[in-house]
């Protein structure tokens, strides 16, 4: 007969066996890598040969006097200020439109979500063609419908490049936000909506007074996801503008990549990465804390 004790040890061993591989991988590839990255940022590794002599916070001091870094940081903020509200509003609009008992709702949903499933690489190339000044889609299209005076140099315009980059990101993310909001709208108890309808609320009023205030949770979720993404965005800008013209669309992840993989400034690049990591954790840790507490 198997004793209770044996069962317990057997269970302990199998639990460990279940978790060992994933936990080791997470420790190595996430935690050790993050710590190691900080170590690199405090070293003097600047060139091809790894060197880990401790040099202190020099790289961080350098960052905050470096114009390219400060520009990138500022661009990241501009990106957040346009892209986050833009995607939230577009997502909400699409969700409200689709909530009107639309025929073929699933087809519309599938189409609106399509951009979100595309690779940023694909989006980058598609929109380079859209924005191409000489023969691109937008300019030719505007010309052919008699709106030639709207012709534009889009992402090549120093003042507006970041805005047009944000438009692409909103194009890609609206469907995702729509999905989150639509689920939120559909989870509002029908009785409340009915009660409001009886009270004479209709159309706009209904959304403004009854439905949108109840979407706090999905709006918060969407906000956090967009914010985190806006800080991390790399692929799309890498392909669409490469950070240009000049440094007008350069953001932190891109600066880090260029410093490390083009200029081989390893410790400087890892200092940028550390800052980026801290910025994201400032957003994510309270969010996880809140979600975690809610679950408890």
């Amino acid at each position: 007969m198997v004793s209770i004790k044996k069962i317990i040890t057997r269970d302990k061993i199998s639990t460990i066996l279940f978790l060992i591989i994933p936990i080791v991988l997470v420790i190595i590839f996430i935690y050790i890598c993050i710590i190691w990255n900080v170590v690199v940022s405090l070293s003097d590794w600047d060139g091809l040969r790894p060197s880990y002599d401790f040099k202190g916070f020099g790289q961080y001091q350098k960052l905050f006097t470096n114009e390219i870094f400060l520009t990138s940081l500022w661009n990241n903020i501009v990106l957040i200020l346009i892209f986050v509200p833009g995607s939230l509003v577009m997502g909400l609009l699409l969700a409200i439109l689709l909530d009107q008992k639309v025929r073929k709702e699933n087809v519309f949903k599938l189409i609106y979500l399509l951009p979100f499933t595309l690779s940023f690489v694909v989006t980058g190339f598609l929109w380079r063609w859209m924005y191409n000044v000489r023969v691109g889609v937008l300019n030719t299209l505007l010309e052919s419908i008699g709106l030639g005076f709207f012709r534009n140099d889009w992402i090549q315009n120093v003042d507006w490049a970041m805005f047009w980059v944000c438009v692409v990101l909103i194009w890609q993310y609206s469907g995702y936000m729509m999905l989150i909001f639509l689920a939120g709208i559909r989870s509002i108890p029908e009785s409340q909506v009915m009660a409001a309808a009886v009270d004479g609320a209709s159309g706009f009023q209904m959304y403004y007074r009854i439905i949108i205030p109840q979407l706090k949770a999905p709006i918060f979720t969407g906000f956090v996801l967009l914010l985190v993404f806006a800080l991390k965005a790399f692929d799309l800008i890498f392909i669409l503008t490469g950070g240009g013209p000049g440094y007008t669309t350069e953001i932190l992840p891109l600066t880090m990549y260029k410093e490390v993989f083009r200029k081989k400034h390893f410790s400087y690049g890892s200092a940028i990465a550390t800052i980026l990591f801290l910025l994201i954790m400032i957003v994510v840790i309270p969010y996880l804390y809140k979600t975690y507490r809610r679950e408890k």
């Binding site: 890598c33 690489v121 469907g175 029908e190 209904m206 991390k232 993989f261 890892s270 940028i272």
Partner: protein
């Protein structure tokens, strides 16, 4: 469930409001699909036809030349991408399923802490691990190898896979697990004989999600393979542009080739992908 939220149940006549609603819906469909439509039209044209036509007009004589040229360049990279995407998807799903099970159905202290410790990985910017990652992969002798990409994508896939599986396993009643326990089944056997047979849906959801994520990746491919033979399709697409500076038809054809596998997955299994997006969003 979704009927009768607002307004009456009566069948609606086409009133101006409804017309405006559908006008807006279709306008957004147009805006959503315009870049893709134009890519297809451009890819179907020859270099000369491109000059004399509008980028959204269908070609007068459709030509598959651009698709052919692009395919010759991308054949190997697309096979590479398929290989590491499928393998890393499977591996991260299996690991995520095991982790999700152990963290929900085996009651032990600290399970929640371990869960949080793992899912923080969903949010980290990859730049923050990039230099050490490249060093590790070089040390292991996997730089420029498909296996390096498989390892990397599997490792960074564990957090989201754990999250997706855990949220599904939370909904399996404990009584099922306890019944197996009373029959004398250990943790491993319960997983194999009780939990795994119930896991078809989360496996599909997670696999579709992971396939899309890994297939779409650029950064890891960029820093872990360089210009070698194991280049993923996303990286090869960048080089395609280098070779044909103004050949937009070839560039668009290449982009479309690269889109097709993930597009097929979306069109066939979109329902599951949506489920993955929702679970990832609400809990993550």
């Amino acid at each position: 469930m979704k009927t009768n939220k607002i307004g009456s149940k009566k069948k609606r006549l086409p009133n101006p409001k409804r017309v405006f609603l559908y006008f807006l819906l279709i306008l957004f469909v147009f805006l959503t699909l315009l870049p893709l439509w134009s890519a297809v039209m451009t890819a179907l044209k020859t270099q000369e036809a491109l000059i004399y036509s509008n980028p959204i007009q269908p070609p007068i004589k459709p030509s598959l030349d651009a698709f052919g040229t692009a395919f010759n360049e991308l054949r190997r990279p697309i096979l590479n991408s398929l290989m590491f995407t499928i393998l890393a998807t499977l591996l991260s799903c299996v690991l995520g399923s095991m982790t999700g099970y152990a963290l929900t159905k085996v009651k032990f202290r600290g399970a929640n802490t371990i869960f949080l410790f793992i899912i923080i990985g969903i949010f980290i910017p990859y730049q923050a691990v990039l230099i050490p990652l490249v060093q590790i992969i070089i040390e292991l002798g996997l730089w420029g190898e498909i296996s390096g990409l498989i390892l990397t994508h599997t490792a960074y896939g564990i957090p989201i896979c754990t999250l997706l599986f855990k949220s599904f396993y939370d909904s399996i009643p404990d009584s099922l697990i306890n019944a197996a326990k009373i029959d004398g089944a250990g943790i491993g056997n319960t997983y194999l004989h009780v939990v795994l047979p119930l896991s078809v849906t989360p496996f599909v959801v997670t696999a579709v999600f992971q396939f899309t994520q890994i297939w779409n990746d650029l950064l890891f491919g960029l820093v872990l393979t360089g210009a070698g033979v194991s280049q993923p399709a996303s990286v090869a697409l960048l080089n395609l542009q280098g070779g044909f500076v103004t050949a937009w038809n070839v560039q668009m054809a290449g982009t479309l080739w690269y889109t097709i596998p993930s597009l097929i997955v979306y069109l066939v299994l979109g329902k599951y992908l949506i489920k993955g997006f929702m679970t990832g969003a609400i809990k993550g």
